[in-house]
């Protein structure tokens, strides 16, 4: 009997060990903090942080922060905060993205969930019930950060954007020079882009492509949303339903398929991953968001590449250059104890008042900081992606945290047209039907109308 009990206990302990996630740092010995005078200056623009105080009345306290990103700037800032307050331990727990969005809400239901956690706005509906509002006044956040307005819910902010992410064209400089092109040839319009792409395409004796001028394989529908906005076509109707089956979507899908089928600057059969193809110098141009910079630096460091802003239909300033999505500030768990929430709120103020959080994040995620004081920051503007984005940040539109079906269905439709030869009208109509069905019960309200230049819409 005792052997069985021991056996069961062993199994239980093995299982509990297996359930553990990856936490960084070692368990720290916390000490009582009796010195409120840290000898540091108050910092921040409107949101100001005075470090000369005791946190949690100097009593030792440990809070958890959950993130999916190894490069999350909070990993570094947690250490500097702990240095100021030796009684505080911020335990950073890195969970894989795929598990994050099932583990986190389930954990937040209880009382032992993380006090702070990384947020992705696509998961708004599942996370919102567990969020505590920020202690920082809304007007202070609005004074220091762009795009706070679209995150105000019943007069409170639960998280906002600290970075703005959008797409650009990445080009291989070596292939560019080989084709006899210079910086002056960087295309401003889509017509010019097509011509440049043609010049960058190479074929073998049988007419097969051996170097693609432009490649969107594996990322097939990412660009169409921006193209629609450029032509004043909104992604959502006023009632929150998807606006997919329309003449602009058709026109843009035709443009993209024509690049392959008529202009022959790429091919649906030229590999299945445009990122890899660009990294292997088989493709001269790709449209990608900020994450691609990290991918190139980490996996394809030999490639000499440049970045230029996404072309537009004409040389006129369009309604919007593209869609953007924000990288969100952390959320505070409303189910945690008052003490834990208080430390979490103080840490939030610490990171939002300073500039390091935004600069570190901007450089590691190649996304433009929404902190107004960083608009001309030289470190930020030195980054090629951010340099390309910088003049356009104002004219990027955020439709809100829309349901996944809008992107997944658009991808399926584009694949149906390109790979399965489906009639474009039928494909768009089926796509619209699928989106309507999927969004029937979704409580989605588009935030397009909060876009700064929304009134320009005809």
């Amino acid at each position: 009997m005792s052997k069985i009990t021991k056996g069961l206990l062993s199994i239980a302990s093995i299982l509990s060990l297996a359930a553990c996630s990856n936490t960084t740092g070692e368990a720290e010995e916390l000490v009582q903090d009796d010195n409120p005078d840290k000898g540091l200056e108050t910092f921040g623009e409107t949101i100001q942080y005075d470090p000369n105080k005791l946190v949690n009345e100097g009593e030792p306290i440990s809070i958890e922060y959950w993130t999916w990103g190894e490069t999350d700037p909070i990993n570094k800032l947690a250490e500097s905060y702990e240095e100021i307050y030796p009684n505080v331990d911020i335990e950073v727990s890195i969970q894989p993205w795929d598990d994050f969005w099932t583990k986190l809400p389930l954990s937040l239901k209880g009382e032992d969930g993380p006090a702070l956690f990384n947020i992705h706005n696509s998961q708004h509906d599942n996370i919102f019930p567990y969020l505590a509002p920020y202690d920082i006044p809304v007007e202070d956040l609005q004074a220091d950060f762009e795009s706070v307005d679209s995150h105000v819910i019943d007069g409170e902010v639960y998280y906002t954007d600290y970075l703005i992410n959008s797409g650009n064209i990445y080009y291989n400089k070596t292939l560019w020079e080989e084709a006899g092109l210079s910086e002056d040839d960087i295309p401003q319009t889509w017509d010019e882009f097509t011509e440049v792409a043609k010049q960058l395409t190479k074929y073998d004796e049988d007419g097969n492509i051996i170097q693609a001028g432009y490649n969107f394989n594996g990322d097939i529908s990412a660009i169409y949303e921006g193209l629609n906005y450029q032509k004043e076509e909104l992604l959502f109707n006023e009632d929150g339903t998807a606006n997919f089956d329309n003449s602009t979507t058709k026109e843009n899908f035709e443009y993209l398929t024509n690049l392959y089928e008529k202009e022959k600057v790429g091919s649906k059969d030229f590999g299945d991953d445009s990122s890899m193809s660009f990294g292997n110098a088989q493709t001269a141009m790709v449209y990608k968001w900020g994450w691609f910079l990290g991918e190139l630096n980490n996996n394809y460091s030999d490639i000499d590449f440049g970045v230029f802003a996404t072309p537009t239909p004409t040389e006129e300033v369009p309604f919007a250059y593209d869609r953007y999505n924000g990288e969100s500030t952390p959320g505070v768990n409303k189910n945690q104890s008052e003490e834990q929430q208080a430390v979490a709120q103080d840490f939030l103020k610490y990171i939002l008042a300073g500039e390091e959080y935004s600069v570190e994040g901007a450089l590691s995620l190649a996304s433009f900081p929404s902190k107004k004081s960083l608009v001309d920051n030289p470190d930020v503007l030195e980054n090629p992606v951010l340099k390309a984005l910088s003049p356009r940040v104002d004219r990027l539109i955020w439709p809100g945290p829309f349901p996944a079906t809008v992107e997944t269905t658009a991808t399926q439709v584009m694949e149906d047209i390109l790979y399965n030869g489906k009639d474009i009208d039928q494909a768009l109509s089926d796509g619209q039907e699928q989106m309507d069905k999927d969004m029937e019960n979704a409580e989605f309200n588009s935030l397009q109308s909060s876009y700064k230049f929304f009134d320009e819409l005809n």
Partner: protein, 294 residues
């Protein structure tokens, strides 16, 4: 002496009860409760992440049955399952017969080799086959001199996944058939040999009928597992191009863990449960009828 025996009996009795209790609790938690929860959940608008659980009656079933993607996925599932099972049986039996033949050498090595794909993780196998199918540098196009975009052409994508699945799984059928062949009575074969039966006649009239329970076992277990297959789809095509490789379990995964529509996913699971149940019963019925007519 009597006291010791009684003590031993009590120990055995306690261990037996404890084991049974453990099994009951295990199946209760991991089998009965999830099935009950799926039945109940299928009639609710259910998102466990935000504790949403609103009764909607049969609405989820109506939604599922009117969704063209459900029917497309079901057709793909049937095509995928039956083709995979058929070739698993044919290849498995063929190789088992070859391995059982007296002239075959290195039987153990071949047995191990054929079984190796079965024990290799499906995720790893799927990635390797993705590279084999790559239209630019894939080995398959290079070796056979083809120019096919296997996983991005609706005509080839599902067959390509089926080929990979058959390659991975035929070893299982081979080993089961080998066990079946080893257990066949030798006197029947000796009698057939004395009667002058040819190899083909022996196979048709003795081996194949006697292997019927083994075949039935492979068919049922394979059908159940193939109706629930989704990992290779998730990794190799994500249901694409378009929706041409959606199978029912991938659709369930998509509804539950991408869109968090656990109610709709549960309704689909219940329908799948019913279909697998009916197929299994049919299979038993057909086999027992054939058995009784002979």
């Amino acid at each position: 002496m009597k006291l010791e025996t009684k003590k031993n009996n009590t120990k055995i009795f306690t261990l037996k009860n404890l084991t049974i209790l453990f099994i009951i609790v295990y199946f209760g938690i991991f089998l009965v409760y999830p099935i009950y929860k799926a039945f109940a959940g299928s009639m609710h608008d259910w998102n466990p992440l935000i504790d949403q659980y609103d009764f909607v009656g049969l609405d989820n079933f109506k939604y599922v049955l009117s969704n063209p993607l459900f029917w497309k996925s079901m057709n793909n599932t049937i095509f995928f399952s039956f083709l995979s099972v058929f070739f698993r049986i044919v290849l498995g039996l063929g190789l088992a017969l070859l391995l059982e033949a007296k002239i075959t050498k290195f039987k153990s090595s071949f047995r191990g080799m054929f079984y190796m794909p079965t024990i290799t993780p499906l995720v790893a196998v799927s990635f390797v086959w993705m590279w084999l199918y790559n239209p630019q540098f894939g080995l398959i196009n290079k070796v056979f001199g083809l120019d096919i975009n296997w996983l991005k052409d609706a005509q080839y994508a599902l067959p390509a996944i089926i080929i990979m699945t058959i390659w991975k799984d035929f070893g299982y059928a081979t080993v089961i058939y080998l066990a079946g062949l080893m257990g066949l009575p030798q006197d029947v074969y000796e009698a057939a040999s004395i009667d002058g039966a040819s190899k083909m006649q022996t196979f048709k009239n003795i081996t194949w009928p006697l292997l019927k329970p083994t075949t039935l076992f492979i068919i049922i277990t394979s059908l159940i597992s193939y109706f629930q297959a989704y990992i290779q789809i998730l990794i190799m095509t994500e249901g694409g191009p378009g929706t041409s490789t959606y199978v029912i379990s991938y659709l369930i995964f998509d509804e539950a863990f991408v869109d968090y529509n656990f109610g709709v996913a549960s309704a689909m699971s219940i329908l799948l449960f019913g279909i697998i149940g009916i197929l299994t019963l049919l299979m038993f019925k057909v086999t027992s009828e054939r058995g009784s007519t002979k």
